[in-house]
Amino acid sequence: MDKNDLIVRFAGEGGQGVVTSAEGLAQAATQTGYHAQTFATFPSQILGGPTWTQTRISINPVLSSGDELDVLVCFNEQAYSNHSGSLADQGVIVYNSAEFELSGHDDAIGIDFDALAKSTGNTRAANMVVIGALAELVTMKQDILDEFVTKKFTRGRPNDEEIIKSNIKAMNLGRNEVKDRGISIGQLKPPQKPDYDQVLMNGNVAICLGAMHAGVDFYAGYPISPATSILVWMEKNLPAPNKFVHQVSSEIEAITALVGAGFAGKKAMTATAGPGFSLMSEGLGLAWMAEIPLVVVDVQRGGPATGLPTKTEQSDLISTMFPAHGDIRLPVIAPGSVEECFHAAVTAVNWAERYQGPVILLSEMALSERNQNMPKPDLSKVPVENRIVNQNTNEYQRYDQLDVSPMPIPGGPGSYVANGSEHDGIGDTTHLAERHVQMTHRRWNKIKVLEDGDFEVDSIDSPIALVPWGGTKGPTREAYNKLIESGADIAWLYTMFLNPLPPQMIENLRQKELVLVPELNYQGQFSMILRSLGVNAISITQYTGLPFTVKDLIGRVNQQIESYKQGHLKI
C-alpha cells in the first residue's frame, strides 16, 4: 500500500529525547524532500513529567499534525497507556524495551534505543535508531537518509566522519530491528525534491526573523509562556549598535518603554501571552491615542487569567482587538502557519510604521512550538516600510490632518507633544468638541491605509463558506479538501488580516447565506466580530486546550450544514 504521509507520535518523560527524535524525523524528512510539521505539548513541571511530540511527514504540504497515528513511539510505559488509544487501526508501536515490555501485542516492536546507540560508540545517536526503525516501517530508502546525516554532521570538525558513520550505523541498527520483525505499514511515496531552498523552524523563531527583517531595533519584554522563546531569541540575536533589547521588570514597563521608543523613532516590539497582554491595556490605549508605532505579539495560551499556560487556544481575539477603554480597535494580524508567522511579523512592523500606531500580531501556542518546513524567504523580495518622517520646520502641526501625516522625530524638526489626552495639532490638551470629533475621525481614517491585506478564495460561488482563522487554518483546510473531494459545495475564504479585514473579503462574506468559523474558543469570538460586520457567521468551537482534529471538523461542518438546511440553525 502506498502512503502519502506518515504520522508518528513520540511520547515519554521530559528529558528522554522525545522532542529531539520528533524534530530529527522532521529534519530528515524535509531534507529528503518531504514536507513536515511537528506538534509539541509540554509537561507543567520543569524537569521530567509526561510529554509528547508528533511529527507528520508527507509528499504534500502538511496542514495538520494528523488525527490518527501510524506509529506510536513509547519511551516509557505511561506513554503507552496514555497514547495507544490514538493509534490507527493498522498502527504500529515502537517502544523502548529497556524501560518496559509490551506483551501480547502483534504490532509492537521493542527496541533498546540507548543500548543500540551505545553499540555504535555514539551514545547520542538513540534518536537515529528510532528514525531508522521508522524509515524501515515505511520502506524509506536509506540513501536519502545517508545524505541527510552527512549534511547534518558535516560541520568542519575533525571527528565529523566518525560521527556520520556512527549515526548511519545507528539508523541501520534501528532498521534491522524492524526488518527482523517483518512489520511494515506500507510504502511512503518517494518525495519530490523542491527546486528551491527550504528552512525548517517554529512559529516563534519565524516571528523573530520576520521582525528582524522588518527592521525591529527595540525590544523590551518580560518572560511568559509561550512567548518567552521570543525574548530569549531576541536577547541572543538582536544586540548590535543602535539596537536595543532588554528584559524589563513587568509588561507595564515593556509596553510603556515601547511607547517611548516608538515616539523617538524606533521600530519597537514586545511579545507576551494573555496575562501580560492584559497588563498592557492602558499602554496600548496611549499608543493609539498618541499615534505611536509599535508591535505587540500575543502568543495565545489557554485563558482566562493565568489559565492554561501550556495549552493552546484562540481566545484573545476580542481583547486584543479592543484592548482598552474608549473608542479603539487595533489592527490585528493572526498567522495560520509558520510561514505566515514570518510574513505576519514583517507586515505587523510595516503596518505600525505605515499608519503610525500599535499593531497586534496574534499567534498561538500551537504555532509557537510547531516546526514546519517552508520555502526559504528571499529577503530581498520582502518589502520593508518606514514611517514618513516630518522634514518641516518648527511650525508643523503633527496631528492636524485627517489622515496619516509625517511624524516628527525628537532631535529633528517639528517638536510637538505626543499626547494621550485629546489634543490639538501640536499635541496640546484640549476639550473642544470639534477637536475631539476631528481627532476621532483622524484616528479612524488612518487605519484605512491598512486595507490592502490579501485573502484566499476557493469555490467563491458556493452559498456556504468555511472561514477559519489563525492556527486553525491548517486542519480546516485539510478538512475542506476532503469535503470538496467528497463532493461538497463549500466556499473557502481565509485571511490573516483580521482587522482591518480585506474589504473585498467582507463583501464576499456578506453575500454568503452561511459562514462557518471553526475557532478554538468558547464564545465564537471571530464569528461575533463577523456578525457585527453584517455577515451570517456562526462558529464551530472547541476549548479543550488542543487543536481541532480534521475528523471532528469534517463531522461538525457536515452537521452544521445539515441543520442549516433543515432550518434549525439560528444565527
Partner: protein
Amino acid sequence: MSVNNPEYDFKWCPGCGDFGVRRALESAIQKRHAATGIAVANNVVVAGIGCSGNMVHLLEGDQPFGIHGVHGRTLPIAMGVKMANPELNVVVVAGDGDFLSIGFEHIGPQAGRNLNVCAVVMDNGVYGLTKGQSSPTSETGMITSSTPYGKIEEKTNPLSLYLTLGVSYVASAMSSKVKSLANTIVEAMEHPGFSIVHVQSPCTTYNDTYELLKGSVKKGIEPLAWPIPEGHDSADIKAATELLNRGGIPLGVLYKDTTRPDFQSRIDAVTKISDSKSTEELLASFAI
C-alpha cells in the same frame, strides 16, 4: 506652548509652586543650549499626569519635544526614548502621586540600570489635579477629601528611598529658589546616570506648605527646609543618609555617584561581545 494657544485651557492656580519649577526648567534647558549649542529640539520632556505634568504644555519659548503619557509611567517611557536615541536629553516631570504612588515600581529598575535621564519631581504632598486627595508624601494625620478623618498610613520618605534604590544622583530643592533649582537641574541633566531632583513645590489650593517650609519669624515657625552644609561630601552615601536623619528638608545635592556605568554603556558592553549576525545569516542557519 500654551501662551498663544487658545485651545489649551489649563492654568495653574495663583501661587502654585509649579510656576517656579517651570522657570527653572526653562532656564536649565536654555543654559544647556547656550553651553553646548545642542538644539532645544534635542530635549524631550516626559510628563506625568497631574498639575505638575501639565508643565509639558506650559513651557514657553523654544519648544522641546514632549510626551504626555499615562499616569505613573514617566520612567519607562523615558527609558524608551533615551535608549532609542542616547543623544537626546530626557527630562521627566511628575508629581508625588504620579512618581511615588502609582509609578513607584519604576524607580528601582531604572536605578539598577542607571538610566541616564533626569527626573524632576514636584512634591506638593497632595493630589492636585484630582482636587486634593492624600498622596504618599502627605503627612500622617492630614485631613484631605479622601482622608476626612486623617491619613492613617506612614508618610513616604522619598529621599532615603532614592538612596536605597541606588539612584546615582539625588538632589532636594525648593520651587521658590528658581536660580538654584535651575543650576541643580543643569547639573542633574549632565550627570551620567539616573538623577532625581526632588522639589518641594507647594499646592496653594490644597496643601499650602510655604510657611512651614520657609518658616515665619512672626509666627514663631522654624523653617522645615535647611541648606545642606558646604562641606557635605556628596560622594559619601553614609553622609547623605545621616543628613536625612536630621529631619526636615535638606536642600542641595545629597548624593552623586559618577563611578557606576550608565545604562547605555552597559548595553554597549553587551553589543561588543554579542554575535551580530544578519537576518540573512540567521535565516540560513535554519536551512535544510
